[in-house]
């Protein structure tokens, strides 16, 4: 039983980039990126057209190797709707946040990233269900939590439900 059991060993051949270098590297990948610093990670905002190209480079660039999609979250900023992606490299251990925004609240649409990280499939279905953001190229874009005939997108800030949401 003990032969299948080995100790935690950090993989030493990979190095963790410091945040300045990481930011410099990422900003050079596609044009028009804006960056900001938060406590835990660097965040970049990308135009919706460049999202897929940026994501491909983030995953495949040998210095970055963001192979894990840690978190995918829809956000309603009021005027803008958008998606926040948190990437992590399982090898180099650095983290990056990518934001994409749109002012179109009627038919918001972004490129899917589920062809790059399969884990995005379920997350994008969740965002579609609760924020009404459509992902172009997604294999199975349906409401995953709510009923098919549910009206509205509950996690949007302007969602009104007088029956089910109790204001205290």
């Amino acid at each position: 039983m003990s032969d299948c059991f080995f100790l935690f060993r950090p993989e030493s051949k990979y190095y963790k980039m410091d945040r300045e270098k990481l930011k410099e590297k990422v900003l050079g990948l596609v044009p028009g990126l804006q960056s900001e610093e938060t406590r835990d990670f660097t965040a970049v905002t990308v135009a919706a057209d460049n999202l897929h190209a940026l994501a491909l480079q983030l995953k495949n660039d040998p210095d970055l190797l963001f192979d894990s999609l840690l978190c995918l979250s829809g956000v309603d900023w009021g005027k803008e709707l958008g998606v926040v992606y948190l990437f992590e490299s399982t090898k180099q251990k650095h983290m990056l946040e990518v934001k994409v925004k749109t002012t179109d609240r009627e038919k918001p649409c972004f490129d899917t990233l589920s062809d790059i990280w399969s884990g995005a499939i379920l997350h994008e279905m969740e965002v579609f269900d609760l924020f009404g953001i459509f992902f172009k190229g997604h294999p199975d874009m349906r409401r995953i939590f709510l009923a098919e005939d549910w009206v509205g997108y509950p996690l949007r800030k302007d969602y009104v439900d007088e029956v089910n949401i109790v204001e205290l």
Binding site: M1, C4, F5, F6, L7, F8, R9, T38, R39, D40, F41, A43, D67, S68, L69, L70, C71, S73, V75, D76, V84, L86, T90, K93, M95, E97, W117, S118, G119, I121, L122, H123, E126, L130, D140, R143, I144, F145, L146, A147, P154, L155, I165, E167, L168
Partner: protein, 375 residues
């Protein structure tokens, strides 16, 4: 005539069956519907339909204060309630840069590990029960009750404790907490050998689980799988090792990694993890420092405007909490990256090509908790 018979046989062969497993099925341990496409009894495709227990916790969080949110997190993964509380507490404490007393860190770590043991005991019982070994179910629940008694004594709750608060704990531990915990470890070290005797070495069990539902390391990374499920594929992803929090940097323990990636490996990881958890508790239980059980916090907690991400290792994997704060007493947006939801995605991948009876074994080995998926 022969032609007709042949065409009928062909009709039967090419026909796909779509079977609904759930929402009320004993092996889903909750309300989850799996629409399974079968060819004969081989699973070809599987689509999960969730939401039967969706409560909109993320929406509720936007109206609640941070101490209130902690009570909601209990209800996500109710088998790792302490760890879920821990994630929100860590987020608030790190965002406000509050220094938590050492005593709190030790107690939290012990409670987390006790919770992990209880969760894996329940996994042992239900997983074996899914495969038809009913006695193991009784074993698991018998021993889990001892842990729940320890929880109840100190926290007042058996399963939904809400014991952690931002800055510390709800109340101090019971005077007999250390004695009872040590007695439990002594008791469980004997009993876990029983687990191995009744199930691990069982030939039928091994034949039903070995080489079934193989998850490769690459797929585990690609699908964002974490926790014991990923560690059974050799992926080192333990938050307790990579981003130590509370007292995990003060203890020595092994991250259990098994490279096979099959159903049996996922079972074995959890068996080993229970032993590792007991090692962690033994290192800490006699050294709990004296002091306050909570740091002084302001009565109304407001996070500075900004974005925060914090994660802990629950019994099922990485629970991430992503918060956008606009400086108010409630978060602007709160997202829970729950381990169950991410692990569910890979189910289609690892079941296709296996028989429908194996599906139950594979699904059980992922150890999913449905309220954690639906939130």
């Amino acid at each position: 005539m022969e032609e007709i018979i042949n065409s009928r046989v062909q009709d039967i062969e090419v026909q796909d069956y779509h079977i609904n497993i759930g929402p009320q099925h004993p092996s889903t341990h909750g309300v989850l519907r799996l629409v399974v496409s079968l060819k004969g009894e081989i699973v070809e495709n599987l689509q999960p339909h969730c939401g039967y227990i969706h409560r909109g916790i993320e929406k509720m969080c936007e109206k609640d204060t941070y101490p209130q949110i902690i009570h909601l997190t209990d209800r996500m993964d109710y088998l790792s309630a302490h760890m879920n509380n821990h994630a929100v507490c860590l987020l608030v404490e790190n965002a406000l840069e509050v220094e938590v007393p050492e005593r709190v860190k030790y107690i939290r770590t012990i409670m987390d590990e006790l919770n992990r043991i209880a969760s894996h005991q329940l996994f042992f019982g239900t997983f074996a029960n899914d495969l038809g070994a009913t006695t193991c179910y009784m074993y698991g629940f018998r021993d889990r009750e001892k842990v729940l008694d320890i929880f109840e004594q100190s926290t007042g709750g058996r399963m939904l404790q809400s014991y952690y608060t931002p800055g510390g704990l709800m109340r101090d531990i019971h005077p007999e907490f250390q004695k009872n915990t040590k007695a439990f470890i002594k008791y469980f070290r004997k009993k876990i050998k029983e687990y191995d005797r009744i199930l691990t070495g069982n030939v039928i069990f091994q034949q039903r689980t070995k080489n079934v539902g193989i998850l490769t390391k690459e797929d585990a990374i690609d699908w964002g799988v974490t926790g014991p499920t990923a560690r059974a594929s050799g992926l080192s992803c333990d938050v307790r090792k990579h981003h130590p929090y509370s007292a995990y940097d003060k203890v020595t323990f092994n991250e259990v990694l098994i490279p096979e990636g099959d159903t049996f490996a996922r079972y074995m990881v959890r068996m080993h993890e229970m032993r590792e958890s007991m090692n962690i508790i033994e290192q800490l239980i006699d050294n709990i420092p004296a002091g306050d059980y909570s740091a002084k916090m302001k009565p109304i907690i407001k996070l500075p405007a900004g974005e925060y991400f914090e994660r802990v290792e629950t019994a099922r994997g990485v629970l991430g909490v992503y918060v956008i704060s606009d400086g108010n007493k409630n978060p602007y947006r709160m997202k829970f990256r729950s381990p169950g939801f991410c692990n569910l995605g890979v189910l289609n991948k690892i079941t296709s090509g296996f028989k429908i009876a194996d599906l139950i074994a594979i699904f059980g080995s992922l150890d999913l908790v449905i309220p954690d998926i639906d939130r």
